[in-house]
């Protein structure tokens, strides 16, 4: 579980996050949604520890980010996995090497164990036939699956996904969303997904935090968001003509 307590973040004089207070639950797919420029990415980067907050604190299963030393930060960051928007796979490595990479860099386990562990996750994301392929030989959906496998190969407690289905067709996007949700349940991870895709919100949004201009406007589940009386949430959810028609 990650608790965000009254955090404030600005760049020079530009206020990006203001008094954000929320909880992201373990074993649930937590979504941060909002329009472009709402502060989603900055909040995600604060949670990842890539940005320092100006005030407030973040609690990782009760451990506060405040006054954290370098070693403690490193310890927390090694419990995190991240799926980037563009997958961020290493071009020169094949699928197996990409997934093995965190094990090679951060563990002392022997070669056989590394391969076994990597293969287990390759099978989990259904990429058994693509082990030897380079990222450039994979489709967008396959690249996302490799990125997911690489993010969870270290058995992280926290999984962060930045727009995991951007650039994917609707069908593949749902497959990726479902895969993330299954993995979240299976490994009991605190998963936080940054998204502005309403399909994801409806499919896997178990805990949704809606941001607008750096403020937390609303929090609830996918069922609640469709019935929300909040005008700003309503404008965001029903911004597409299709959803407006379906509402009627």
């Amino acid at each position: 579980m990650i608790e965000v307590k009254n955090i404030y973040k600005s760049f020079d004089k530009t206020e990006v996050l203001n008094k954000i207070e929320t909880v992201f639950y373990r074993g649930k797919t937590n979504l941060i949604i909002g329009q472009s420029g709402s502060g989603k990415t900055v909040l995600l980067k604060c949670l990842l520890g890539l940005y320092e907050v100006n005030s407030g604190e973040i609690l990782y299963d009760g451990i506060s980010s405040k006054n954290m030393g370098i070693n403690e930060k490193l310890e927390i960051s090694r419990q995190m996995g991240m799926v980037f928007q563009g997958s961020a796979l290493f071009d020169s490595m094949n699928v197996l090497e990409n997934i093995r990479f965190p094990l090679d860099m951060l563990t002392e386990i022997d070669e056989n164990e590394k391969n076994e562990r990597a293969l287990k996750f390759i099978e989990r994301v259904n990429l058994k036939d693509a082990i030897e392929k380079l990222p450039s030989e994979l489709s967008g959906g396959m690249q996302k699956r490799v990125a997911i496998a690489r993010a969870i190969v270290m058995n992280p407690k926290y999984l962060f996904c930045d727009e995991p289905n951007s650039g994917l067709d609707p069908k593949t996007a749902i497959v990726i969303d479902k895969l993330i949700q299954e993995i979240t349940k299976e490994y009991n991870i605190t998963t936080i997904i940054n998204s502005h895709d309403m399909n994801s919100v409806i499919e896997i949004g178990e805990n949704i935090v809606f941001l607008k201009e750096g403020l937390k406007i609303w929090q609830g589940t996918n069922k609640e968001i469709l019935k929300s009386k909040n005008k700003e949430v309503d404008d965001f959810v029903y911004s597409s003509e299709l959803l407006k028609k379906l509402r009627v």
Binding site: L48, L50, S77, F84, Q85, A88, D91, D104, M105
Partner: protein, 244 residues
């Protein structure tokens, strides 16, 4: 102020590249990969250029030493001095700023654009140590390339003189004339300084670049521009310190 900021950032990058080291086995693997990409892959172009430039240098020397009172051995002597003192270490380094420098900037820049560097940081890996340090170590073999350039430059001169009709004995006698081993030391000191510049300046331009694919190209051009300028300035400083 911009330049001072960049200089400070460059030295901080170097400091970080040498700290918080990644696992040794991973670094060894990276170093061998970089030796292949930066050193072995450069041998062909350096060999071709050195051979023909050595030939041209000797022809031009011969053209300027037509006076019958001047010994033909001077052609070999002047070619040797030009190749060892300037052509091999400096001229080849400028070419390498284009070849190796662009490769380093574009490969690291592409990693930046495609968030691969962010991925390393999120994993808790010192990305500078993983990306820059192996390049610096691999470039310690750069004097090997310069040795090839020196050798082939002088051989190119010999062949050109043989084809021009200058007796090869005179040329060989010339390249042995008044040989000072300190000139080789000077040349290798310069080479090592340039090797460090070739590994780090393009890395800096790639690592701290911002933007998209188009900006990777711009960063490579900027990297070549600055690497060449720094090499030329350092060439003057080292020469002033060691030969003046």
């Amino acid at each position: 102020m911009g330049i001072l900021h960049d200089i400070g950032k460059y030295f901080l990058m170097i400091k970080l590249s040498f700290s918080k080291s990644c696992k040794k086995e991973v670094l060894y693997k990276q170093i061998f990969k970089e030796i292949n990409d930066l050193i072995l892959d450069s041998i062909q172009i350096v060999s071709i250029l050195s051979f023909f430039i050595g030939g041209v240098v000797s022809i031009q020397m011969a053209l300027n030493l037509e006076n019958p009172l001047l010994s033909k051995t001077l052609i070999g002597y002047a070619t040797r001095q030009s190749v060892i003192l300037e052509f091999a270490p400096t001229f080849i380094s400028i070419i390498m700023a284009g070849k190796v420098g662009s490769y380093i900037t574009s490969s690291i820049g592409t990693m930046r654009v495609t968030e691969q560097i962010d991925a390393l940081e999120v994993m808790g890996i010192n990305s500078l140590n993983y990306l820059v340090f192996p390049k610096v170590i691999a470039m310690l073999l750069y004097p090997f390339i310069i040795t090839i350039a020196m050798f082939l430059g002088i051989i190119g001169g010999l062949l050109a003189m043989t084809l021009t009709g200058v007796p090869s004995e005179s040329y060989i006698q010339g390249i042995q004339m008044d040989f000072e081993s300190y000139h080789i030391t000077y040349s290798y000191i310069k080479t090592l300084v340039f090797a460090f510049v070739l590994a780090t300046v393009p890395s800096y331009h790639g690592y701290y670049m911002k933007g998209g694919a188009l900006d990777v190209g711009k960063a490579s051009t900027r990297s070549f521009y600055w690497t060449s300028i720094i090499i030329i300035i350092l060439n003057y400083i080292v020469t002033q310190l060691l030969l003046a």
